[in-house]
Symmetry: C2
């Protein structure tokens, strides 16, 4: 903040001094991979991200292995990682069974989820938005009783592949519902990456009228190339928690080769250049991203990461 104040360019009083980077690569980044990733590689990735100073890591999803075979080893992953003091490891828990498994695995934080689009809710989880929230009530209650941090994630907050536009009010409705079931934190997720800067600011500001801004997280996909601009725009209205995926892991299901999750490397590069503290060692994240890409036989997809590696090679 000092740097910005000195330059007289803080882009409004709301830009945070610190940001929490929530690393979703090990879960959101890997879950759609068809080839099963060895449990050891998942553990190594999480350990490296922990060592890189990332304070929050989405590590597992306790869904039925029939739905998401890639996430079947959640308990083994949680048992295998080296936990660091102060780091929160989270998991998706779609139902009571998932929550029980998550508790058994000693996660710090669980995630329940719903869509801001009725059409997406019906097609993706086979029930209306209202029904999905009803089903999560016992999960939320049990999670709170177990002393877990409870996160609610709102997919399709900016657009839906089935219904198209999603009104800001639909997102606000979901924020209220997730607040009312007891969520400590709410994710505004742009599942298909159609959101743009002013739209993001409108949604964040509207959500913040119903829920503490400091506990709203932005989850942006780079499908249309907008993710970094959206994060910069969200920072300007005071958002201070962002999801990202190391190496940009996690493709868009609608387009082969299209980018999905925004890369942690690009986000951290932006944040540090703005003088925003993250506690993250960017070089260590780049090394983790390069390693996991190599082991998965993929081209390393984080632009800032590739550029930093190339720069080193030149110098």
């Amino acid at each position: 903040m000092k740097e910005r104040q000195r330059e007289g360019l803080d882009n409004g009083p709301q830009m945070p001094e610190q940001v929490q980077v929530v690393e979703v690569g090990p879960r959101d980044g890997l879950q759609a991979e068809k080839t099963l990733i060895p449990t050891e590689l998942k553990i190594e990735l999480i350990n490296r991200l922990t060592a890189a100073g990332i304070q929050r890591i989405e590590a597992a999803s306790f869904v039925s292995p029939k739905w998401v075979p890639q996430m079947a080893d959640g308990a083994a992953v949680m048992a295998g990682i080296s936990r660091a003091e102060g780091v929160s490891y989270s998991a998706l828990t779609p139902n009571m069974r998932g929550l029980e498994a998550a508790i058994e695995s000693k996660v710090d934080e669980v995630v329940i989820f719903g869509a801001a689009s009725e059409a997406f809710s019906v097609r993706n989880i086979n029930c209306s938005i209202a029904e999905s929230i009803e089903r999560f009530i016992p999960v939320a209650r049990a999670a709170k009783q177990a002393g877990l941090h409870l996160r609610g994630s709102i997919s399709c907050s900016f657009g839906c592949p089935y219904q198209g536009e999603v009104p800001v009010n639909s997102v606000v409705d979901m924020v209220k519902r997730l607040r009312d079931v007891g969520c400590d934190e709410i994710d505004i997720a742009d599942t298909i990456g159609v959101g743009t800067a002013h739209h993001v600011q409108r949604v964040v500001q509207a959500a913040a009228r119903e829920f503490p801004l400091a506990s709203l997280a932005g989850h942006f996909h780079d499908t249309y190339g907008q993710a970094l601009a959206n994060i910069f725009a969200a920072l300007q209205v005071g958002m201070s928690i962002f999801h990202s995926s190391v190496a940009g892991l996690g493709g868009c299901p609608y387009a082969k080769g299209a980018t999905g999750n925004v890369a942690t490397e690009d986000v951290v590069y932006l944040l540090h250049s703005l003088g925003v503290e993250t506690g993250v060692d960017l070089e260590a994240v780049v090394a983790a991203g390069e390693l996991v890409s190599q082991r998965m036989g993929k081209e390393y997809g984080a632009r800032a990461g590739r550029a930093l590696i190339a720069r080193k090679a030149v110098v």
Copy 2:
């Protein structure tokens, strides 16, 4: 602007209502390609971009074919295109010989260039910044006498591969020099893509103290994934001319597979979503980008373009 005002979210009074998109794909995007692109394909690309409503197209570079073999057919390209009323076709003119060829080819606009970094100037064009400006004086004078729009481009405005950081004052010095030799417009170019949002705002604001803001252009590379965030930041301080390359043509010379020029598709998607007028038909640009990528045997690299095509396929 109406949309933004109604929503009460115009991000400051300076965001422009209209933006000029300067398409640099046919020149900056292609010049480093090792395989010679057929003149007919260059002509078809320029014609399609013209038909898509782009008002300004960088079409050629009248440099020695020994330096840049890909640009050797500049005269044939300029002779072959179907010009549209009101569209400006530009070319790089490094010296008097290039300027004469450009005038003969009836370009509307010529570009002279220099670096904000001494180290880059010496390594790239083999002379100091001061010498490079001296050499451009007769070119600039003759261009103005011929009634051409004269553009001056400042490379390495945010960082240099050899000297590292580039102070804001070095950019301002170049702005003054290019202004003093008679430039009508000045490009602030991030040659290696290291610039980030606040840095961009600082440089644009400093440059605008020496040259009309309405005639400053932003040329951003996506090497570190920052280009769209930089454009959004530059819009917020009133910049209204941006360079981009259809399909994101033009790789970074420092990293294989790394992105270079920001894609026109991503930029137009952002601008339209902000309610900023461009006069550009995004679908037509996507079709042009897909076509040229296919003909060049490359994966189509514009994220918004790929996503729009995929969306159509889904619906």
